[in-house]
Amino acid sequence: MIGPELKIDIEGKRFELLPPLLSGFSLTVEPSSVVALVGASGVGKSTLLRMIGGIDTVFTGRVTVDGAPAAEAPPPGFVFQDPRLLPWLSALDNIRVVRKDTTRGEAAEMLRRVGLAGYEDAFPHQLSGGMQRRVAIARAFSVNSRLLLLDEPFVSLDRTLVKEVEALLQSLLDATRPTTVFVTHLPEDAAMLADRAVVLAGRPARIVADFRFDSRRGDRSRTELEHIANQIAAASLEPASYG
């Protein structure tokens, strides 16, 4: 299975009276690549992700997934900043709810893959923050989507949990190879997980750096990870143009 190609051409996106968030913005994401959108808070990363996911359709321009408008494309696997589990459904039903055809067995298998076998009937409030995050990841992968969108998947997790969730994502990405766009403000996360890092800055947001990494993610040495993270961090600090 190979992921779809994304083509993003946004003429304008603004929120009411504020200056435009995105204007004349273009980006192409190759099939089955893992692209990190890196930038400071408020730069427009999450908005961009919502446009790709077909959630935000109030803009001028085009976002296509394999040629189809994003909102009409098959549902992506979407991991929000918060786990966003439905509190009235069990872990198993939170997975089944996003795809009608998912059987109990398939949902249980997804939970097993994220290390939550035995927690099928637990309600979200009975799970720790890390476990809830893993259910959200299992839910995203359960739709069998070729497109995966992750919005700050490591935010508010402690570093031990970050390592755990990173390892989980690496193994799932290797197994299913979806086209993946993930938003982060931490260069270290981009260095760990991405094939390519696109650094955004300014208002309207523009691409200030676009790094493609030759080495295979998951096989990078500690030194290499530090080097990549430093590169991204340095690009993020470049003065951005405003207006």
Binding site: G54, I55, R84, L86, W88
Partner: protein, 228 residues
């Protein structure tokens, strides 16, 4: 009280129980309870259905809410007895007028509770539904209804307690039977034993509903909150 002030104004619990048994076996208690409960339940379900539908509309539409919010305040504060008297004058002392009066008294409470429930809906869950392309029915079943249920249950609970009270008052005012009608007859003869025996029976029915229907239902629907 019965020990301190014996007499027909303060009957003993045993005397009340005996009276209750007589009304139950030889009197009209069952038929009176049946009439009152029928009126209460028709009014309850009508008010819940209409109130929920209108409450959702008010919660969703700012325009509708602006148009009707002052009417809602009037409805919430208008004395129940005024509505009943007006309807009895306009429609006569009919079953329909009685039930409609109960419905109109309960409606503003249901509408307000449901409106507040809809206003508290999480935009995050809507976003989740959009991301995963939920159909209308899937969104209704898994996102809208579960968020609304605590408010529906709250409206049902407060509404039912309100209905128990006003149905009896309206029966006193004008009806041909029912617990309220019978209590008004006992009142005319200062029959405290009769009043207390009917009240006891009525409270027993309310307890049956509370413990055999409402609480198990609430426990089942809100078990995701209680299983911490």
């Amino acid at each position: 009280m019965a020990t301190l002030f014996p007499g027909r104004l303060f009957p003993t619990p045993v005397a009340v129980a005996q009276q209750l048994w007589e009304h139950l076996t030889a009197g009209r208690l069952i038929s009176d309870l049946g009439k009152t409960l029928t009126r209460a339940f028709i009014a309850f379900f009508a008010a819940m259905l209409i109130g929920t539908a209108v409450g959702i509309a008010l919660g969703r539409s700012r325009t509708l809410d602006r148009l009707f919010s002052s009417w809602l305040v009037i409805g919430l504060n208008l004395p129940a007895i005024v509505i009943a008297i007006m309807l009895y004058i306009w429609l006569g002392l009919t079953e329909f007028a009685l039930i409609l009066a109960v419905v109109l008294n309960k409606l503003p409470l249901v509408m307000t509770t449901i409106r507040e429930g809809v206003r508290s809906f999480s935009a995050d869950y809507d976003e989740l539904a959009r991301a995963y392309r939920f159909t209308f029915w899937r969104r209704l079943t898994f996102i809208t209804v579960p968020q609304l249920m605590p408010f529906v249950l709250a409206a049902a609970r407060t509404g039912l307690s309100l209905i128990w009270k006003i149905v009896l008052v309206f029966e006193v005012l004008g009806s041909d039977g029912g617990v309220g009608f019978r209590i008004s007859t006992f009142f005319q003869f200062f029959d405290i034993k009769g009043i207390l025996s009917y009240t006891t029976a009525f409270i027993a029915v309310v307890f049956v509903f509370e413990y055999l229907i409402l609480r198990p239902l609430e426990h089942r629907i809100l078990r995701w909150r209680q299983s911490a």
